[in-house]
Amino acid sequence: MEETRVLLRNKDVANMVDVAVSMEHGGYVGLRNALLMDGAQVIETLRDSGLRGRGGAGFPTWMKIKFAYDAGGTSKVVVCNADEGEPGTSKDRILLSTDPHSIFEGMAIVGKAIGAGRGFIYLRAEYSYLFPILENALDSARKSGILGKNILGSDFSFDIEMRSGAGAYVCGEETALFESIEGKRGEPRTRPPYPGTYGLFGLPTVLNNVETLANIGPIFANGVDWFRSIGSENSPGTKLFTVTGNVHRRGVFEFPMGTNLKDIIYEVCGGIAGGKELLAVQTGGASGAIIRPSQIDIPLDIDHVASSGGRLGCGTIFVIDDSNCVLDIVKNTLEFFTNESCGKCIPCREGGVQLLKLIKKISEGRGSVIDIDTMMDLSNTMRETALCGLGHSTPVPVLTSIANFRDSYDRHLDKDPCSKCSPERGLK
């Protein structure tokens, strides 16, 4: 199966940090076109393109921009979320390192739409080795008049600054990210007010994922019809998929939205490694649904995956073979969430710890049916009452694994010792 390389079109081009090289390969054509439009026209184009966010929620990009456009005031900002913290994803790293100008271009176009003069890129600490590369790319763009005052000879001025994270998954949540850039603990804010009116430094803000931003230049360069010809009706365009776990070929691949999950696992990635059988697949990172082999024949677009109880999220495909136990995977994700919970609200701070205790108890053969019921109760409470997406998504792997792998849970209740998820194998 051939990849459709739109975002990764320049992946194998050397020295894409240099703005001249980027421009030889079509860089900033979209920005030139956008600079001829007014803000409303830019937003209309994005609306017609049908572009939706690639950072997790799949929210229509034009609407976020419209909120900030409609907000009063003259000082507004654009933020690029390069925190890429969802376990199992590396697509933003690939974009940042192989085509940084495509991200700057997207930010400048959003800036043009809302009349923002400043942009920020919040880069996770784990990618600090990309910091100098991005700084060089920014310098290169400034020297060519693509960033800074009156970019490309227009009356629009826009510049971008780098900001560092320091190892906190929750800082990928938009309001926590603002707090972090402002020099505070990265704790999510209560909403409203929403970022469109009160975001970074209290200013109207548009925050987008790296991949979302990289889509914007090509839309303005090639047109809305071209964009809509790729992918599915409700999720146009391509998607970057990071395939991890027990497959032959792992990595980041680009396919149209709506590509079949089973085909990616078997045709693109060569199926399960080491003569084992497929046990389960988790899409959407640690906060995604865990599904059975019989459920993987599905198109990967935002709405399809959502309607089957999971989420496409940032596009991770985590493949698990039968030398593992589903409960062990759930335990691993709960360890992750309890470590990363910021502790600001009780449902998440306490709920996560209780869920982890219960899954440990069950996996060690000491659990009862009541414990499974309690896990479901706790999960539903967290979904309804937690303050931010971290607390809302912690229960997703729990509830989906109980729904799809009830037999595995029941087997543990029979008190058969499970060799695949002994406490020895679990972490910590």
Binding site: R93, R124, G167, I181, I320
Partner: protein, 166 residues
């Protein structure tokens, strides 16, 4: 956090450097992260005396600086080793044998996860996904990434670091 560790004493010359860095950003709370990242490169830890200097020079409360530092995994009020080894424990690394790699590394260094060797050269921590799952199981040592590890490769790698042959 143990108070005694937060009270680690920093050399006066390092504190002068800290003051020099922090004083450039008086009143710029949004530069706190940049200042702290720069400072962490020149002091053994973000201990009380360091926090006091940063707070004074930037016009923040010492409490703010402390609560900021303790929120983030990459910032530390305790001294860490010259080599910070971060071993990914997220599920994609886990199903490819991360636990065996961790056991090998902690055994070789003779310390538990979260500890620093007595010679202050190595600290080991587990961490969530490093974003390099295509080469899981993966670890980072300071700014360098290493992947496709198994116990044998991990042993070779750590030996090189022990010999400073890197």
């Amino acid at each position: 956090m143990h108070q005694s560790q937060y009270s680690f004493t920093t050399s006066p010359s390092a504190l002068v450097q800290v003051a020099e860095i922090a004083s450039r950003y008086k009143g710029r709370q949004d530069k706190l992260m940049d200042v702290i990242i720069a400072v962490q490169k020149i002091v053994p830890s973000l201990a009380e005396d360091v926090a006091a200097v940063i707070a004074r020079e930037m016009g923040l409360s010492q409490n703010h600086v402390y609560s900021f530092v303790t929120f983030y995994e990459y910032l530390s009020v305790q001294p860490r080793g010259k080599y910070m080894i971060r071993m990914c424990s997220s599920a994609p690394c886990h199903v490819r044998g991360a636990k065996d790699v961790m056991d090998t590394i902690t055994e070789m260094l003779g310390i538990k996860i979260g500890e620093t060797t007595p010679d202050n050269r190595f600290t080991v921590e587990t961490c969530p996904c490093l974003g390099i799952c295509d080469i899981s199981p993966a670890i980072m040592i300071n700014d360098k990434v290493y992947g496709d590890l198994d116990p044998e490769r991990a042993r070779e790698l750590i030996k090189k670091y022990i010999r400073e042959d890197i």
